[in-house]
């Protein structure tokens, strides 16, 4: 899956995902990616988030929605992503997944679980080129 969040010059936020899902799934199965609030979520008044990982588990917790709501409550993007990931880990200690969160002022963060590290890509006006950033998983 690719999950993306973007903010344009007008301050409008959008988010999205695209995926071919889990390998050897039972035909008809979908994961978290196309579910609003699970695979991705956006709200101009707060920001946006996107998630990736084990979709059968992740869609039960709406992690992108949760991350955005945490930012609405004042959390930093990193803390919001951590809260969303830890909510799932509290029930599924072996789950693999990650959340990226982007606040409407351009601050961003990420959190992950079930891997050593998780990479994500950012491009903004502060650098001439894109940069791959990595977070240590919880």
């Amino acid at each position: 899956t690719i999950g993306m969040v973007a903010i344009d010059g007008n301050g409008d936020v959008a988010a999205g995902t695209s995926t071919n899902g889990a390998r050897f799934k039972i035909p008809g199965r979908i994961g978290d990616s196309p579910i609003p609030g699970s695979g991705a979520y956006a709200d101009n008044s707060v920001g946006g988030a996107a998630a990736t990982g084990d979709g059968d588990v992740m869609l039960r917790f709406l992690p992108s929605f949760l991350a955005v709501e945490e930012m609405r409550r004042g959390a930093t993007p990193t803390d919001a992503a951590r809260t969303a990931v830890l909510r799932i880990a509290a029930h599924y200690e072996d789950f693999m997944g990650a959340v990226v969160a982007l606040k409407n002022d351009g601050q961003y963060g990420a959190a992950c679980h079930g891997m050593d590290t998780f990479p994500f890509v950012v491009q903004d006006n502060t650098k001439e080129s894109f940069r791959v950033e990595t977070v240590q998983c919880l």
Partner: protein, 183 residues
Amino acid sequence: DKNIPIAITTWWFYNATIKAWDVLKEGGTALDAIEQGATVCEVQQCDGTVGYGGSPDEDGETTLDALIMDGKTMNVGAVGALRRIKSAISVARHVMERTKHSFLVGELATQFAVQMGFKEEPLTTQQSKQMWMKWHNEDNCQPNFWMNVKPDPSKYCGPYSTLDNFRRESPASNVKVDRYNHD
């Protein structure tokens, strides 16, 4: 001082990020950045986890899921289990902008896409076919997502039928979710 515009993308998919950034830099909308950025991954089959020719299902077919959300209007377009159409994120955007619905699935989502002018074509590739044949013929359909069915899904391929007596417990998954196999 706001750090905008900005684009952020999961995994190492920098070509998608570059495309999204190019759109934003030229004054395009966040929605255009998401659609065009994700389209890059659909075309380039990022890590085999996006687009055609990856993650075949039990029947060897690749189907696609996509979502796009507008944070300005809270409008949403999504497709699930989309068959024989490569441009899943663009179909999702058509659901958002050409209908009053949010989510279309399966064969009927394909019919919608065709009506909207998208080309219908197989999503199977030689590589995805070989991946499926190995799983089916050499690995005995292992791993898979079945439980509480017969014959024993941890040993045999289907078709399966329901097992009358089983313990209701949360299953330990034997399916490895990793960089190359994830939602």
